[in-house]
Amino acid sequence: MREFKILAVVVFFTLLVYVGVEPFAHSQMHAHVEGHDFVYDGTADIEEANTRVEKTKEALEKAKERLTEVQSIENSPQEDLVKAQDAVTKQENALAKAEETVTHKKSFWANVASIAQLDVNITNGEMSFGTCIACHNGAGINMGGVIPPNLDRIGSLYDKNYLIALIKDPAMASNVDHKYANTMMHPMGSVMAMVTSDQQIADIVGYIMQNKVGELEPKAAFEEACVRCHAVRYAKVTQLGDTPEFKEEKDALAHKIKVLDEQALVEAYMGKLPPDLSMMIRARSPHYMETFVENPQTQLPGTSMPRVGLTKENYEKVKTYLEEVGDPSKPAREAIGPWVILFFVVFTILAYLWKKSQWKDLH
């Protein structure tokens, strides 16, 4: 029994270390981000905007305190006084802007919700959809930073509310409005001049949800949602899609140059070439991946990555694809694991019987 007591002590301290350095430490290192189950109704956006208001208020309080402090000192240099005064003005302006953003976001998402309730006319929607084809023409030519995506199956891939929001205001929908003083500067900004009435938006989206649908394999879901910006070199996928097989080296090089040109355009648009996603499934936790794809701002505030508006089902497909590329041994692992463990269980039983026979005359 002494052996079991000792074992209990060893196991206890081992688990203590494990829990301390793994689950506990990680829970302290990473801020917890609440997911919204791939529902796009602006709740997260409004929360974020409110947090910014709170933070700006704090900064304003600090700036005011500093000003009072400078004013209370006799003969404090004019320079300090001006500086403190400027800081207060700056924070006051920031606060006004932050409050305005909250109001703006609230009315925007309320508007999106009301559009979703409108009766739709599919025929009108089809007519208006023609405007989209001007850019979303499948020619694979970069426009304003990215290649406009193919729209053939977007009704299956993306959330309805998200699509409404996207046509209404692309920067607000993808939660990158902080990047643009005016949404017209967004690569898809011109849609706001072309589709102007709420009814028109409702009709287009109604048409999309009925006609632009189709079954998507994990790889197709991934390519349509992510590949305009991200490469996956372990799967020979670039911003231009699958890399074809070339017989001649010069053809391969010519293709590579096209890829580099496309990457340069994406980089100019995003500020930085978005990372290769080959290993991303192992570099981030499942929770991080999920909340990040749902709303990039939650995990990386200020990032230029747009929210893409995937439905939950399609996020799962994207994840499946990333697992196939980044963790291809998973099926083999799960197939062999039980057998290896069974082998050692049998080994241990036999070893125990041998030990017993060797030790039987000793005590």
């Binding site: 002494r2 052996e3 000792i6 074992l7 060893v10 301290f13 081992t14 203590l16 270390v17 494990y18 301390g20 350095v21 793994e22 506990f24 430490a25 302290q28 290192m29 070199r233 372990y234 990372p275 080959s278 290993m279 991303m280 192992r282 570099a283 981030r284 936790s285 980044g326 291809p328 041994s329 083999a332 692992r333 799960e334 062999i336 694991g337 290896v340 463990i341 050692f344 269980v345 080994f347 241990t348 070893a351 125990y352 041998w354 030990k355 026979s357 060797q358 030790w359 005359d361 000793l362 005590h363």
Partner: protein, 406 residues
């Protein structure tokens, strides 16, 4: 000139005996290498370490066939070639990664067993010192191996640890550059740590393992009660088949049968980790390729270095470095700091048992705090735990000086 039996057939027992004395070797190292009977499963940790080292060597050889020590190729050779193109490459990698982490758990259990049962003194000092040399060499081996996948954590841990050689205010930047072969970790750096990891350090480890075993042969293994055994008398009883009266057992097969059983239990756990819970040994941050322009949010070493990292971190630069150096060498001095001549389990040594458990808890606290961000309360607790660790050694000197002789 020794006597050779000319009639012995080549490679027969007699022929080999004349040339290699195999019967004597077998007797001395195996069938008549006497081990005390009064032991528990903690005495199997040595063989478990040997087996784990074996797994590391074998899996390492397979990985070595496909790994490319080049700053441009290393990451993909590990994460793509080995993980998706090489048959069972993923299995060798996960075995190697998990074994590298678990080996330290077993080393710590092995060390703390030695401390608990006072197995480091009265003839056993060299066992302890060679064991500590093994610990340090294993640490260097683990660190150099951690550089090889050339991910973000490889790069930045390499940067932080090599920076320590600057020596605080001594500002030995030249030494740091000499170690790196460059201003920052790069190709030259990766190549030399590759060499250390696959050649020089394994050679040193193998040499030290031989020395560790050799240093054990004469003083013999300690036992659960720290009893001084007359091995010759006990061996005579055993050989006369008075096994119940004898206090010893032969290494082979009796001691080994128990070792192998414990090893079986260990391997069940080990392969459970390899197949189902390998993430703890492979930090997610290291699956992002090394990028000298982007520092990860949190930089921390693997769990087994955290306690000494936390002794470095809470203090200002120079005192921190000195505290860190003390933490690295102080365990070597244990047989000389402990002034008591008692060889007995800690619970029979009065205040020593309290000292032992405070040490265990303090080192675990340092380990956990070493990973947490050094802010607020964690920082305070870390400072307290580090100071306690440093105070433990003068306290040990005093309490063992006044320890009652058993």
């Amino acid at each position: 000139m020794a006597h050779f039996d000319e009639n012995a057939k080549p490679f027969s027992n007699q022929w080999l005996n004349d040339r290699l004395a195999i019967d004597t070797v077998k007797r001395v190292l195996s069938t008549e290498y006497w081990i005390p009977k009064n032991i528990n499963f903690l005495w199997a940790m040595g063989m478990i370490l040997a087996a784990t080292f074996g797994l590391l060597v074998v899996s390492g050889i397979f990985l070595l066939m496909y790994y490319k020590p080049d700053a441009n190729l290393a990451f993909d050779s590990v994460n793509y070639t080995i993980m998706s193109e090489v048959g069972f490459g993923w299995l060798w990698r996960h075995i190697h990664g998990v074994a590298a982490s678990v080996v330290f758990l077993i080393i710590y259990i092995h060390m703390l067993t030695g401390i608990y049962y006072s197995s480091y003194k009265k003839g056993r000092e060299l066992i302890w010192i060679s064991g500590m040399l093994l610990f340090v060499t294993f640490s260097a081996e683990a660190f150099s191996g951690y550089m090889l996948p050339w991910g973000q954590m490889s790069y930045w841990a390499g940067m932080v640890i090599t920076n320590l050689f600057e020596g605080g205010s001594l500002e030995l930047t030249g030494l740091v550059e000499w170690i790196r072969g460059d201003y920052v970790p790069g190709d030259a750096y990766l190549m030399r740590f590759f060499m250390l990891h696959v050649l020089l350090l394994p050679l040193v480890i193998i040499g030290l393992i031989v020395f560790h075993f050799a240093s054990l042969r004469l003083p013999h293994v300690n036992n659960q009660e720290g009893e001084e055994i007359d091995f010759e008398e006990a061996a005579r009883l055993y050989k006369e088949d008075k096994k119940k009266e004898s206090k010893v057992i032969p290494f082979n097969p009796v001691f080994l049968s128990k070792d192998i059983f414990v090893m079986g239990v260990y391997f069940i756990l080990f392969f459970f980790l390899v197949f189902y819970n390998f993430d703890f040994a492979m930090d997610p941050v290291n699956f992002d390729p090394a990028d000298g322009l982007q520092t990860p949010t949190h930089i921390y070493p693997e769990w087994y270095f955290l306690w000494s990292y936390e002794i470095l971190r809470p203090f200002p630069k120079d005192p921190g470095l000195i505290a860190f150096l003390i933490a690295q060498v102080i365990f070597f001095l244990l047989p000389f700091i402990d002034r008591s001549s008692n060889v007995a389990p800690a619970h029979k040594r009065g205040l020593f048992v309290i000292w032992f458990w405070v040490l265990v808890v303090d080192m675990i606290a340092l380990t956990v705090l070493g990973k947490l961000p050094p802010e607020g309360m964690f920082n305070t607790l870390g400072t307290v735990a580090a100071i306690i660790f440093l105070l433990m050694w003068p306290i040990l000197f005093v309490i063992t000086k006044f320890e009652k002789k058993l």
